[in-house]
């Protein structure tokens, strides 16, 4: 004991000495006496305060010095190498190529993408000079090419120029952009709305703006890729319910509540995330039921209407109009200005609070240039046209019915889409069922897809696990083969003058691989006769390609 004390003695003197020098230097600084007097008197009055102030100063210094981006610590797994060893390791290291070359299938895939020469529309011209009937491009209400919109755009070009030259917060906001936000809000009946300059980039910013780590999201297993990315960025706890199955949703909501009580989770924000009309199969959500459940279990509803806005409802307002549900019941209503109004960008409509919050927390709103004024005016004009001409949506629905009437009767395909959906997906019907079944007209013919229940989740069977994105009864299909058949149908239809496309997917990057399909997008700009003609061509191609199987 005593030896340690004696060995520490020089240290003590050193400390005392340096303290003295420190003190004298401190008093040499002009104004230091004032500080010393202040500290002394305040310490005498209230010793606790000195402590508090010291802590405050330390905290302030730390905040100031802290680097804003912390490097990932290498931690305890760090191995010490000499410089020479590092040089050797650097020499030895060979990286993989940055990207893989396309394989043959992918090459063909890319080369078969149709190229439109001149304006897009119901009858565009292709690179080979032929005009085709277009059931591939999104132009639901036929606003593309509208003369009144063109004139408004030229007018704006001559007054505002094209680009907005900056993010909304940095003087990129112009009066007519705010006008479109107001127009969308008025059209839907919400308090406000906020514009993002690309439809796909809207929801991946909306979700993380509200949902943080620890919050709970209950999502449909069939949500589109953009929502999947939003969920990934938000890092919150996700529970899944079977695709478009309200019973499954209710079950999951109950199980979350039980889990919360059992694990004693704190009360957090909770959201249901789903789509109005699903991008990957055209099925439609049962909005009244969704609203009922969200109110009952105290969730907020984030509804992606990218497909349904501008394509269903009496004037194209989407699901809220179709089901007569006030849009204010949907907490965050996301739509696509690009698809729905034939311009560019997307929006999120909701209460003032929801909108304001995104003005500083919506990543792709804050850090991206505002929408070009011309595009916002095109969209505002589009809304006017939709309001004033309800016949547009009537025509669209008639066209949808015309196409469905023909395609629903085709045996070799199935159509999972809702009868009112302007996006129609076509799946290959598996060739396996015994011929006897094919002969008898069974009730499972595709005339019944209106039921919101997925046929794959009979409620009697065991339920899927909410923590896993995979359903208990996954669909089985031969992806490569089906894609090949579908592409053959697409090629055959194109040869007959009808432009359609397979639904393109990012295979390998999606949470669940969607079943291969052909995606039709019906437009009001096409005459009913042309729709029937196109549908008959598609029907013939399906029969021709799929009849040859086996």
């Amino acid at each position: 004991m005593s030896t340690t004390v004696s060995s520490l003695e020089p240290l003590f003197t050193l400390v005392a000495q340096s303290y003295e020098t420190l003190e004298t230097t401190f008093y040499k600084i002009p104004g230091s006496a004032v500080i010393a007097r202040y500290v002394k008197s305040s310490h005498r009055d209230d010793p606790g305060r000195t402590l508090l102030e010291v802590i405050l100063i330390i905290f302030a210094i730390r905040t100031l010095l802290q680097s804003r981006t912390k490097a990932e610590a290498s931690g305890k797994h760090f191995i010490d190498f000499s410089e020479k060893e590092i040089d050797e390791l650097v020499d030895e290291w060979t990286p993989e190529p940055l990207t893989k070359h396309l394989d043959e299938v992918e090459r063909v895939d890319l080369d078969s993408v149709p190229l439109i020469v001149g304006p897009s529309g119901p009858k565009p011209k292709l690179a080979n000079g032929k005009s085709v009937l277009n059931l591939a491009s999104y132009n639901f209400s036929g606003l593309q090419g509208n003369q009144a919109i063109k004139e408004r755009c030229v007018d704006i070009l001559r007054r505002y120029g094209l680009g907005s030259c900056g993010p909304p917060g940095f003087y990129g906001t112009q009066d007519i952009q705010l006008q479109l936000e107001q127009d969308i809000a008025d059209f839907l009946g919400t308090e406000g709305s906020i514009l993002y300059s690309q439809a796909f980039s809207t929801i991946p910013s909306v979700i993380p703006a509200f949902c943080k780590r620890g919050d709970i999201i209950v999502a449909d297993r069939g949500v589109n890729f953009a929502i999947q990315k939003g969920l990934q960025i938000s890092r919150c706890t996700v529970r899944w319910y079977d695709h478009n199955d309200m019973q499954s949703l209710q079950h999951v909501l109950e199980s979350v509540e039980k889990e919360r009580i059992k694990k004693n989770w704190p009360l957090t924000r909770r959201f249901i995330v789903t789509e109005g009309i699903f991008d990957h199969d055209g099925a439609m959500s049962d909005l009244p039921k969704l609203v009922e459940l969200k109110l009952k279990y105290k969730y907020r509803l984030i509804l992606d209407e990218s497909v349904s806005f501008g394509s269903v409802g009496r004037t194209g307002r989407g699901l809220t109009e179709l089901y007569n549900v006030p849009a204010s019941q949907v907490d965050m209503l996301i739509g696509s200005v690009a698809n729905g109004l034939s311009a560019t960008g997307g929006f999120c409509a909701g209460s003032h609070i929801v909108v304001k919050h995104q003005r500083i927390n919506g990543t792709s709103f804050v850090f991206s240039a505002a929408m070009p004024p011309m595009m916002t005016v095109a969209a505002s004009e589009g809304i006017n046209i939709l309001r004033e001409t309800p016949s547009i949506l009537t025509t669209l629905q008639e066209n949808v019915r015309a196409v469905r009437t023909i395609l629903d009767k085709v045996d070799c395909i199935t159509i999972p889409s809702h009868p009112a959906s302007a996006v129609i997906h076509i799946n290959v019907r598996p060739a396996s069922p015994p011929p006897a079944q094919l002969l008898s007209p069974t009730p499972q013919s595709p005339a019944l897809p209106a039921s919101p229940m997925s046929p794959l989740s009979p409620s009697s069977a065991k339920l899927s696990n909410p923590t896993s994105v995979f359903p208990r009864h996954p669909e089985h299909f031969d992806m490569e083969q089906e894609e090949r058949f579908l592409q053959d149908i697409v090629d055959d239809a194109l040869a007959q003058g009808v432009l359609i496309t397979r639904a393109k997917r990012l295979r390998g990057q999606e949470l669940i691989e969607a079943r291969p399909s052909i995606r039709l997008a019906v437009s009001a700009a096409m005459s009913k006769k042309d729709c029937e003609k196109a549908a008959n061509v598609i029907k013939a191609s399906c029969v021709k390609v799929l009849g040859k199987r086996r």
């Binding site: 439109i116 897009s120 120029g161 094209l162 034939s342 240039a369 011309m374 639904a503």
Partner: protein
């Protein structure tokens, strides 16, 4: 945001309009008008699902020429160009090395990719090299397996700092450490380099030695959206595997036209006799000029109205000269007045340091309430560190020397009032700066 209902005309020194192409008149606007009348406003879909127009392939060929790469791909939003493409480049087992001040869109994309990320101190090449040595020798965390690949992402010109990526050193490091290089030229493309072709042009580096050049059309070209460019094989891969082609709406025709017209203006147009192909690809035209050459007539839309100043390139070269002059004049002028600014002399982004966050609002308001109001952007924590609050000017080719004089005058007055002139070095009085502007700009070095 509530509109006040009143109108005020001011000097805008904040918008990203480097080359002044955001115009309501002139060759570009005429081309855009012709395009609206011909094409309408929408391309109606994604690139892979029936939204590909001839205009898109023409613009892609032109962009590739402009930046000096084999091929390029468009995306309808600059932010999404990063956020939807980076996940197709790297993933689990790869490492992204990122400058600490990289833009939010890059961070967004990297987070989606699932790759590991390491950051290094802004523009500090020594820190970068140390980090490279560490990560290559250590390999992946825990397993110590070698990284599949390492991607370095930097910005050509940093929009908050006005600093440029130190490309010559990075190219040296790239040779030694074998990482792939991704440069975000959102602010540098069009605005930097003797031909406006960005940082590679500025430093005289062959653009093809850089793996990926990304940029946006929102800034220099007065349009919207972005591009990604690189080798043909790389771009073809991205057309299929990046989220863009499958899921994002393709660029709308008038916006594409603005891109084509403004780029052609900068490049000048060379008449070619080869028949105009409908689907030109970057190297299909045989008689192509070496980089940085003119735009071959054959890859432009045949119906595009061409103004004489666009064809001979005089419009573009005048803009390039003006932005070069304005940038240097403002940077050097402010420093001669005694202000502290960040960044290099040729940067059109000029951050002037205010330091004290309390002075920000005062500065901004006093600028706005001058007789000729000046509209400025002030930036503070959390966009910048707490102690380096700043005001950021963005110079444009559309500013006249008188505009810059007026700005310098205003800064001079406010600088005295708010005690902002903390810089060291030689000071000139305002009048001398204005009178000897040309001499100041032409002085050699980064003085």
């Amino acid at each position: 945001m509530i509109p006040s209902g009143t109108r005020t005309r001011g000097l805008n020194i904040s918008s990203y309009n480097y080359l002044g192409f955001a115009q309501t008149r002139g060759g570009c606007a005429d081309a855009v008008e012709a395009c609206i009348n011909r094409y309408g406003v929408s391309a109606c879909g994604t690139r892979l699902e029936g939204g590909s127009l001839d205009l898109h392939t023409q613009a892609e060929a032109l962009v590739a020429r402009f930046v000096g790469q084999e091929d390029s791909m468009l995306c309808s939003m600059g932010f999404a160009t990063n956020s939807t493409v980076i996940p197709a480049l790297v993933g689990k087992g790869s490492l992204v090395i990122s400058d600490e001040l990289n833009h939010a869109s890059i961070r967004f994309g990297v987070r989606l990719s699932g790759a590991n990320v390491r950051t290094y101190k802004h523009n500090n090449m020594k820190a970068l090299e140390n980090l490279l040595r560490e990560v290559i020798s250590q390999g992946q965390p825990k397993t110590h397996r070698p990284w599949k690949k390492i991607l370095l992402i930097v910005e050509g010109l940093f929009s908050m700092e006005g600093t440029m990526a130190n490309l010559p050193v990075i190219m040296e490091l790239k040779k030694k450490y074998k990482f792939y290089l991704f440069i975000d030229e959102a602010h540098s493309i069009g605005a930097l380099g003797p031909h406006g072709r960005g940082v590679a042009d500025y430093f005289g580096i062959n653009p093809r030695s850089i793996d990926i050049l990304m940029g946006t059309f929102t800034k220099s070209f007065g349009a919207a959206g972005g591009y990604i460019s690189g080798s043909r094989a790389l771009v073809d891969r991205l057309r299929l595997s990046a989220h863009t082609g499958t899921y994002t709406e393709s660029m709308s025709p008038p916006v594409v036209m603005q891109v084509i017209a403004s780029m052609a203006s900068i490049m000048g147009i060379s008449p070619t006799l080869s028949s105009s192909a409908v689907t030109p690809r970057a190297e299909d035209t045989i008689d192509m000029e070496p980089f940085p050459g003119k735009a071959p007539m054959a890859i432009l839309p045949s119906w595009m109205p061409l103004s004489p100043t666009m064809v001979d390139g005089s419009d573009g070269s005048m803009r390039l000269r003006r932005i070069a002059f304005n940038s240097r004049y403002l940077n050097r002028g402010l420093r001669k007045l005694g202000f502290i600014t960040y960044g290099c002399d040729d940067s059109p982004v000029v951050p002037l340091l205010l330091f004290n966050p309390g002075k920000m609002a005062v500065f901004s308001r006093m600028m706005r309430t001058r007789q000729v109001p000046i509209i400025v952007v002030v930036v503070a924590y959390p966009a910048t560190p707490l102690v380096t609050s700043r005001v950021r000017f963005c110079v444009s080719a559309a500013h006249t020397k008188e505009d810059i004089d007026m700005l310098l005058t205003a800064c001079d007055e406010l600088g005295d009032l708010l005690d902002l002139k903390q810089g060291q070095g030689d000071r000139w009085p305002l009048k001398e700066i204005i009178d000897r502007a040309v001499e100041l700009v032409n002085a050699p070095g980064d003085a």
